[in-house]
Amino acid sequence: MLSLLIFIPIVVAIAIVLMGDKHAGKAYGLALLASLFVFAFALFVGIKFDPSLNQFQFVEQVNWITQFNIQYHLGIDGISYPLILLTSLLTPIVVVTSRTSPKQKYHQYLASFLIMEGLMIGVFCALDGFLFYLFWESMLIPMFIIIGLWGGNNRVYATVKFFLYTFLGSVFMLIALIYLYFKTGGYSISDFHSVPLSMREQLLIFLAFLFAFAVKIPMWPVHTWLPDAHVEAPTGGSVILAAILLKMGGYGFLRFSLPIAPDASAYLSSFMIALSLVAIIYIGLVAIAQTDMKKLIAYSSISHMGFVTLGAFVFFNIGTQTASSETMSLALTGAMIQMISHGLISAALFLCVGVMYDRLHTRLISGYRGVVNSMPKFATLMVFFVLANAAVPGTSGFVGEFTIILASFRMNLWVAFFAAITLIIGASYSLWLIKRVIFGKPLNERISGMQEMTVIEALPLVTLAFLVLSLGLWPAPLVEIMSTSIENLVNHITFSKL
């Protein structure tokens, strides 16, 4: 089952590349069909998925490289499934909107996205450390190509920066994985979870993983690749980058750092919280100062991902407080919801910027004013997503931040206070953006002459708006899917490994 999710897009991608660039229309249709099929398939997996089971499901396990005890081992639980669904949802959206974007090598562009989809699903499915690393690293290649080939003017700098940053991080992860291999005699993640480790080992492993995940999420101060990569990436690349690539860091924390090194996580939690709060406030302020729409959204992404790391590390001293495990569940659920919600909202915002960019070919805020006059429908959607970005209740953006603030208050007043400042800062940069771009008199004739969205542009935005709204009004189903897994995770973390 899961192998199909991974390999259907990859096989189709190869087929599209072989077709050559003469059949753009056919390539488009094929890619769309494949990605929609994968989405339907992921939904089907979701129907079969039993959220109440306290174990990995749809497990596939085959010996792969026996010398090193490496296995082809896949499986999903309540933490990975929502992210897989998000991936399979956003790929067709990217494919649909790609119709107008690149002029050259269109089939390769589509193929890159399909390959990305397969690899990303692989990351979320892998239960073998080596396999995980393989997917994690190989995913850099299509992203590298997407930014490097179809990016903006400064794309070489951005891609190299992106590549080196992430690569540097993952090298440390590889060291940790190899160490764990020597410790357990295999790469199975569940063995990693159960192996006892001394505090020193845990700290080193935690820091090694932290490098990889902190770069990916990204956390302050290793975040500067993201704004550059976003600015240079084509719209589809930005969408995937913001919506899914960043989530892999958060997923890594939940799958590796916390359960493998629980004592180290608890020991370093104040450090992690401090970094998260810096991300939330400092980066939020930086976002206010941006002049480029994509950069602004990129910085706001970093700020929002600060909530994910905050939620992941709302820790109590293990075993000292009775209410701790509930609060941790609350915080971790909040972190998960925040990831999903941010995936939807940031994707939508980048699509919105893409819609405007396609018309005026500038991303500068100063190049716009009064878009609402010529594109009222688009403006409505954009205002909606910007409000969701500012975490207005009723949108999914609110749910995660709300639960994380509640949970962090149970830990410390000031953590909650600083986290809550985002209500103000987030509203400031979000609403100031639409104040300058959407509202007002049209800046010039080019703006008053902008064409309203086409159906192809509107459809993805409406879909995302629907999801953002329904998650905001009724997050219970999503919470339901992951509750058992998160409880399981919390139970695991609260036991010391020493």
Binding site: V286, A323, V392, F402, I424
Partner: protein
């Protein structure tokens, strides 16, 4: 009744969505009919429930609609709570909303955003109902932000106006500052009690009293005080209490019906409503009550003072609203929540009446808002004049009018209170009474009396009926509403199922008999005389000797400058806070991100490695004999090392 109240909640939403989604494809009458119908159904149900409640005082409903989410045993739900406070609020909100809907049919008639407007105000009504009908703090927060959001959209309704989009941005941000307090207050309660349900919170409020929350190492405050202070901070944002009041005068950039509905009658009173709703908690914290009292009293006086110097017709009423909200907070601060809520209701009627009358004037004068360019309108617009007069008399508390009862009752409560700060508050509200009368009649005299100061006087005519009917309908409760309800609501135990307060005798210090006896009783206090003096002062200054105000303002230039600059609050926020925040963000970006992280650490590392390699690459001369020499040297060193080691 659950189904009915659910319908009352949903119909404005349905109406608003229909108007917004398909209204522009059908036609204008569809839009206003569908939305007005929605509100009308909601209003009828509210009235029906109100009547039921009067007939059967034990009526009470607390039911969850659905589970929002549930994590690790914490349940978050959406639900409906119908008690006397809710029902009264529902009736007021839907009534004003209905009036504003009807009024807007005329007022917005030629506006290109007709459908959008009706969509927004219906959705606003939905959000407001969501807020007042909630049975838990989460849903309250939903409604709270919902009304804030609709207010944001409506202030910026004319999005081409630079000042409008500046004002709505400001309104949202300032509200967000308050909302942050509210959210943290909710978090305090949640962290101790583990639930957001009103009933659960009130039942275990003693836990809040016992619990301590540590601020710093070694210093902690009681959870109840912290919770109430934070909740009140939220109320300060929404109810425009100083120093978070700055957004309300600016919000007058929106269409006038909006000012009547949102920025006078309903949304801004949400803070007062919330404090009343949370009265079981506020009653447990005397510190919080004193803060409420002092902030309210300061706001009541200072905002009134600003009302005297404003020249924009809507801004005068806006400052008046802030001042009256201060009165409501004062009442809450001395634990007279029922008086506070009652003033909220009467204020809703007479203030929206005043706003709608002002709107009628504005539209007759083709969007002229400066009162210096009006005057003598009485003869052109008699009905509007009468409505404005009734509103003004009610506002200043003229004996017998609705505002009189509510305001007098709360001043009595302040006079009799022993809360810390109540003496200060008492003098503030007394001076406030004089100030209120002064600015109200200044406005009335300058707009309707004296000589005409506008052009084209002959074409000015009374507004159409669709505008006048709401004025007439609102005039009635502005005069009469207190007579039947005053005793029950303020002195009776009508709100006893929702508001916790001490008996009315302890609160007011005298036994209440009838409205008439209360009226007579009030002549023994200073309030009535103060307002009469205020009217007289206004008459002298603006009818008899119009040059007198200029002389006074020339005499006291400093005070005048401070007032005209609105105590420099806006100046401070814009030039100090907003500007420095932007500068800080820019500094963080340019210095922190670009200079330190990117240039020094990231690209810096690359550059340093490059420099290092330019140095080392010089060893690569290309001469074989150099390489040979190196090899020999290296070999010798290696040998030397081996020999020394052994």
């Amino acid at each position: 009744m659950y189904e009915l109240s659910l319908i009352a909640l949903i119909t404005p939403l349905v109406g608003g969505l229909l108007a917004g989604l398909i209204g522009s494809k059908v036609n204008k009458s569809f839009t206003h009919w569908i939305t007005t119908l929605g509100i009308f159904i909601s209003f009828s149900i509210s009235c029906w429930i109100l009547v039921e409640v009067f007939l059967n005082p034990s009526l009470f409903l607390n039911q969850n609609i659905y589970e929002w989410m549930s994590i690790a045993g914490f349940n978050f739900k959406a639900g409906i709570l119908i008690d006397h406070l809710t029902v009264s609020m529902m009736a007021v909100v839907t009534f004003i909303s209905l009036m504003v809907h009807i009024y807007s049919i005329g007022y917005m008639h030629d506006d290109p955003g007709y459908h959008r407007f009706f969509c927004y105000i219906s959705l606003f009504t939905f959000a407001m109902l969501l807020l007042v009908m909630s049975n838990n703090l989460l849903q309250l927060f939903f409604g709270w932000e919902g009304v804030g959001l609709m207010s944001y959209l409506l202030i910026g309704f004319w999005y081409k106006k630079e000042s409008a989009i500046q004002a709505n941005f400001k309104a949202f941000i300032v509200n967000r500052v308050g909302d942050m307090g509210l959210l943290l207050g909710i978090a305090v309660i949640f962290s101790i009690i583990g639930s957001l349900d009103y009933q659960t919170i009130f039942n275990s409020s003693t836990e809040l009293v016992k619990a301590k929350i540590s601020i710093t190492n070694g210093y902690s405050v009681s959870a109840i005080t912290l919770a109430c202070l934070l909740l009140f901070f939220g109320a300060m944002g929404k109810s425009a209490q100083m120093p978070l009041h700055v957004w309300l005068p600016d919000s007058m950039e929106g269409p006038t019906p909006i000012s009547a509905l949102i920025h006078a009658a309903t949304m801004v009173t949400a803070g007062v409503y919330m404090v009343a709703r949370m009265s079981p908690l506020f009653e447990l914290s005397s510190v919080a009550l004193s803060v409420v009292l002092i902030v309210g009293a300061t706001t009541a006086l200072c905002a009134g003072l600003l009302g005297i110097v404003m020249c924009d017709i809507k801004r005068i009423i806006a400052y008046s609203t802030i001042s009256q909200l201060g009165y409501m907070m004062v009442a809450a601060g001395v634990s007279a929540y029922s008086a506070s809520v009652f003033h909220l209701m009467t204020h809703a009627f007479f203030k929206s009446l005043l706003f709608l009358a002002a709107g009628s004037v504005i539209i007759a004068l083709h969007h002229e808002q400066d009162i210096r360019k009006m005057g003598g309108l009485k003869q052109y617009m008699p009905i509007t004049y009468l409505a404005a007069l009734i509103g003004s008399l009610s506002l200043i508390g003229f004996p017998g009018f609705a505002g009189f009862f509510s305001k007098d009752a709360l001043i009595e409560a302040v006079a009799h209170s022993s809360t810390v700060g109540s003496e200060f508050a008492y003098y503030c509200v007394l001076i406030g009474v004089f100030v209120t009368a002064l600015y109200t009649f200044r406005f009335l005299f300058m707009v309707f009396h004296g000589q005409t100061r506008f052009k084209g006087g002959e074409q000015i005519k009374e507004s159409s009926w669709v505008i006048l009917i709401p004025l007439i309908l609102l005039s009635i409760p502005s005069i009469l509403i207190a007579w039947p309800t005053f005793g029950v609501l303020v002195f009776g135990d009508f709100f006893s199922d929702s508001i916790r307060q001490i008996s009315s005798y302890e609160l007011f210090g005298f036994e209440y008999q009838s409205p008439l006896s209360f009226l007579i009783h009030s002549f023994s206090g200073p309030v009535i005389y103060l307002s009469v003096i205020g009217i007289f002062a206004a008459w002298v200054g603006y009818i008899k000797k119009p040059e007198l105000p200029y002389k006074i303002s020339n005499q006291f230039t400093t005070i005048h400058r401070v007032l005209v600059n609105k105590f420099y609050f806006d100046h401070f926020y814009e030039n100090v806070i907003a500007k420095n925040t932007a500068k800080l963000g820019s500094a963080f970006w340019k210095f922190g991100d670009i200079k330190i992280i990117d240039d020094f650490l990231v690209n810096g590392t690359a550059i340093r490695i490059q420099k290092l390699s330019t140095i080392t690459k010089k060893m690569q001369t290309g001469y074989i004999y150099h390489y040979a020499l190196m090899m020999v040297i290296g070999l010798s060193l290696l040998l030397a090392w081996v020999i020394i080691k052994s």
